[in-house]
C-alpha cells in the first residue's frame, strides 16, 4: 500500500480530530493565549524608581546603540526645585518607532540605569504610521511600576508582571561587577520578573571552579571526544 499510506495518515487526522491522534495544534487565538517564551521580547517600558523618579537620564546611549535607529532621545537639565530624575539630566523626549524596532534588546543592555526594559506585550496595531511611534508618555510605567494599557493594545492574555516582563539578558557587566563579566544573567526589572540564572551560568567563582574540576575529571575518565563548545557547556553544569 506504499502509495496510499499518505491517505491513511490524513484520514486518521481527520477522523480523530477530537481525539488525541488528530489533536489540533492551533488555538482559538484571541480567546486562548499561548504562554510566551521566557526570553520573549515585546514593547519597551521606561522604568521609574520607587519614589516615582524617572530612571532615564537622557544619555542617548540606547539611541546610539540601536541598530534600527528607531529611538529618538533628547535630554534636558533637571529643574533643581522639582527634578524629574535623580542627577543632573533627564530624558526630555523619548520616542520609539515600532515600525522599525527589531526588539534586539541592545538598548536595554546599553542603558546604564536600567531605565529602559522590555515587556512581552506585542499585540498592538495601528492604522496610521505616526501612531506607531510611542512617546515618553506612553512608554513610562505607572505608579505601580506596570506598563500602561494603551487603547490600541490587546491585553486579552492579562498582564502578570512576573511572567510578562521580559527577563532580559546581561551579556556585559552591569554596575561594573567584574564577576559578571562575560556571564549571562537575568536582571529584574523594577523588582518584577526576577528569575534565577539559567542552568549553565554559575554566579560565583567557587561553583565555577568546582565545575571545572569535575570537567577535568570527566576528561580523564573518558577519551577525548569533546570540542571546545561542549567543554563550555559542561563547565556550566546543569542544575
Amino acid at each position: 500500500m506504499g502509495y496510499l499510506d499518505g491517505f491513511k495518515v490524513t484520514f486518521k487526522k481527520w477522523a480523530g480530530t477530537r481525539t488525541d491522534s488528530g489533536r489540533r495544534v492551533t488555538m482559538e487565538y484571541p480567546e486562548q493565549v499561548r504562554p510566551k517564551p521566557v526570553r520573549f521580547h515585546g514593547r519597551h517600558v521606561l522604568n521609574r524608581y520607587e519614589d516615582g523618579m524617572e530612571k532615564c537620564i537622557g544619555c542617548e546611549l540606547c539611541a546610539g546603540v540601536c541598530p534600527a535607529r528607531c529611538i529618538y532621545v533628547r535630554g534636558a537639565d533637571n529643574d533643581p526645585e522639582d527634578p524629574t530624575s535623580p542627577g543632573e539630566r533627564f530624558g526630555f523626549v523619548y520616542e520609539i518607532n515600532y515600525l522599525r524596532c527589531i526588539h534586539c534588546d541592545l538598548c536595554v543592555e546599553a542603558c546604564p540605569t536600567e531605565a529602559i526594559t522590555e515587556t512581552k506585550l506585542f499585540e498592538f496595531a495601528f492604522t496610521n504610521r505616526d501612531d506607531a511611534i510611542y512617546t515618553k508618555d506612553e512608554l513610562l510605567v505607572g505608579d505601580d511600576g506596570r506598563p500602561q494599557e494603551l487603547p490600541w493594545e490587546n491585553w486579552a492574555g492579562g498582564f502578570d508582571p512576573a511572567e510578562d516582563t521580559s527577563g532580559w539578558m546581561r551579556a556585559t557587566a552591569p554596575a561594573g561587577d567584574h564577576r559578571f563579566e562575560g556571564v549571562v544573567g537575568w536582571s529584574g526589572e523594577l523588582g518584577y520578573g526576577v528569575r534565577d540564572p539559567e542552568g549553565g551560568q554559575p554566579l560565583d567563582a567557587e561553583r565555577r571552579a568546582e565545575a571545572a574540576r569535575a570537567l577535568a575529571h570527566a576528561h580523564d575518565v573518558e577519551s577525548h571526544g569533546h570540542d571546545d563548545h561542549d567543554d563550555h557547556d559542561a563547565a556550566g553544569g546543569h542544575h
Binding site: 487526522k13 488528530g22 489540533r24 482559538e28
Partner: protein, 412 residues
C-alpha cells in the same frame, strides 16, 4: 429529450424551465459557498488546524465574507494587459462551469427502468435544466471552453508568471482531456446514448457503470478530472512556489473572485459528472410504498448529494495528502500511462461488448483482446526503446528524455 419540450411549448413550460434555471443557479452558488467552507474546514481538520470559525456559526459564512472583501478591493488592470480579453477571461472560466451543471440529472425516479420523469405543476419533465441529445459531449465541450478562460487570462495579463501558468494549463488540460474522453467513451459503450438522462437511466438497479466498465475507466476519469480541474496534486497551473498565483496573478477584486468561484464550481460540477457517469446519478433503492414526492424528489436528491459529497471529500483528501507533481511527471503520467491504458481498456471493453451482442463467449473474447492489446503495447514499447537507443548512438549528446526514460525532462 425532455418530455416538457416535446409537444407544444406553452407559457407553463417556459416558466418551469425558468424556475429550474433559477433553482439550479441558486443551489449551485450556495453549493460553491458550502464547498469552499467544506474544503477549508476539512483540510484544516486533516492538518490538525481549526479552520475558519469567525464568520457565522462554525465559520460557515466565511466564503460570503471573503466574497464581500474581494468586491470592495481595488480592481487593478495591468498596464500592458489586453483590456478586453483581460475582462472577458474570468467569465470564460466561470460560465462553462455553470453550464455543465445544466445537463446533470439531480433527481427523479430511476429505479427499475423508470426514466426519471417527474411531474411538476401538471407537466412531465426531467429534474435537469436541459437534456440535449449530445449530453456528455456538451460536458466535454464546456470543459474545453474553460481552458480558454485560463489561457486567455494568462496571455492577456501581459506578465510572465501568468503566461507561464496559462501555457502549463493549456498543455495540461489538452493532455488530460484525451484520457478523460477515452474513459467517457468506455461508459458510452455500455449506455449506448450520449444523453445524461439516458446514461443514468441505463444504470438503474445498481448496474452502475463503475462495475460495468470494471473500475479502470472510473479511476482514470478521476485522475484526469483532477488534472482537468487543476486541483492538487495537479495544480501546476497556479503553483504558488513557482508562479506566484499562476494565470490569475494579475487579477484582483471581483475578477479574481470569479476565477476562485469557477475553480470550486468546476470541482462541484465535475464531481456531479462523475456521479452521473459512473455511480448512477440520483438512482438508488426506492421502496414501493414511498409516496410520489419522496420517490421522485426527496430520496433521489439525498442519493445524489450523498454520492456528490463522497467525491467532494475525495478531492479535498487528495489536496491534503498528495504533493504536487513535477511538470514532466505530469506529462509522463498523462501521455505514457493514462492514455495508453484507457485506450487499451476501451478496446477490451469494446470486444466484450461486441461478444455479448453477437453471442460469443465474452470472457474468452476479452482475454484474447487483452492479450493482443498487451502484445501491441509491448511491441510499441520495444520500438520506442530501439528508436531511443539508435538516437542515442547517432548523437550521444541528445537528451534521453525526448524518447523516454525518466532521467531529466524538458518541462516548463
Amino acid at each position: 429529450m425532455d418530455p416538457l419540450l416535446s409537444g407544444d411549448i406553452g407559457l407553463a413550460a417556459v416558466l418551469i424551465v425558468l424556475l429550474k434555471v433559477v433553482v439550479a443557479f441558486t443551489v449551485l452558488m450556495l453549493g460553491v459557498m458550502a464547498m469552499v467552507w467544506f474544503e477549508r474546514k476539512l483540510i484544516a481538520d486533516m492538518q490538525n488546524r481549526i479552520g475558519p470559525n469567525r464568520a457565522g456559526p462554525f465559520g460557515i459564512l466565511q466564503t460570503l465574507a471573503d466574497g464581500l472583501k474581494l468586491m470592495f478591493k481595488e480592481d487593478l488592470e495591468p498596464e500592458r494587459s489586453d483590456p478586453f480579453v483581460f475582462k472577458l477571461a474570468p467569465f470564460l472560466a466561470l460560465i462553462p462551469a455553470f453550464l455543465v451543471f445544466a445537463v446533470i440529472p439531480v433527481a427523479g425516479n430511476f429505479s427499475d427502468g423508470a426514466d426519471g420523469v417527474v411531474t411538476m405543476f401538471g407537466h412531465e419533465t426531467f429534474m435537469q435544466v436541459a437534456d440535449p441529445q449530445m449530453g456528455i459531449l456538451f460536458v466535454l465541450a464546456m470543459s474545453s471552453v474553460a481552458v480558454y478562460g485560463v489561457m486567455l487570462a494568462g496571455w492577456s495579463s501581459g506578465s510572465k508568471y501568468p503566461l507561464l501558468g496559462s501555457v502549463r494549463a493549456s498543455a495540461q488540460m489538452v493532455s488530460y482531456e484525451a484520457s478523460l474522453g477515452l474513459s467517457v467513451a468506455a461508459v458510452l459503450l455500455f449506455s449506448g446514448t450520449l444523453s445524461t438522462n439516458g446514461i443514468v437511466a441505463g444504470q438503474s438497479g445498481g448496474q452502475w457503470n463503475l462495475w460495468m466498465t470494471a473500475l479502470v475507466p472510473f479511476v482514470i476519469f478521476i485522475v484526469s478530472a483532477t488534472a482537468e480541474l487543476n486541483r492538487p496534486p495537479f495544480d501546476l497551473v497556479e503553483a504558488e512556489q513557482e508562479l506566484v498565483g499562476g494565470f490569475h496573478t494579475e487579477y484582483s477584486s471581483f475578477r479574481f473572485a470569479l476565477f476562485f468561484l469557477a475553480e470550486f464550481l468546476n470541482t462541484v460540477t465535475m464531481s456531479a459528472v462523475i456521479v452521473t457517469l459512473f455511480l448512477g446519478g440520483p438512482s438508488g433503492p426506492i421502496p414501493d410504498w414511498a409516496p410520489g414526492w419522496a420517490s421522485d424528489f426527496v430520496l433521489p436528491l439525498i442519493y445524489f448529494f450523498a454520492k456528490l459529497l463522497i467525491f467532494l471529500f475525495m478531492f479535498v483528501w487528495f489536496r491534503a495528502t498528495l504533493p504536487r507533481f513535477r511538470y514532466d511527471q505530469l506529462m509522463d503520467l498523462g501521455w505514457k500511462f493514462l492514455i495508453p491504458l484507457s485506450l487499451g481498456w476501451f478496446l477490451i471493453l469494446t470486444s466484450v461488448k461486441v461478444a455479448i451482442d453477437i453471442g460469443w463467449n465474452p470472457v474468452l473474447t476479452g482475454a484474447v483482446t487483452a492479450a493482443v492489446v498487451a502484445l501491441g503495447g509491448l511491441m510499441l514499447r520495444s520500438a520506442v526503446r530501439t528508436a531511443a537507443a539508435r538516437h542515442q548512438a547517432a548523437d550521444p549528446l541528445t537528451d534521453q528524455a525526448i524518447l523516454g526514460s525518466d532521467a531529466g525532462g524538458g518541462g516548463l
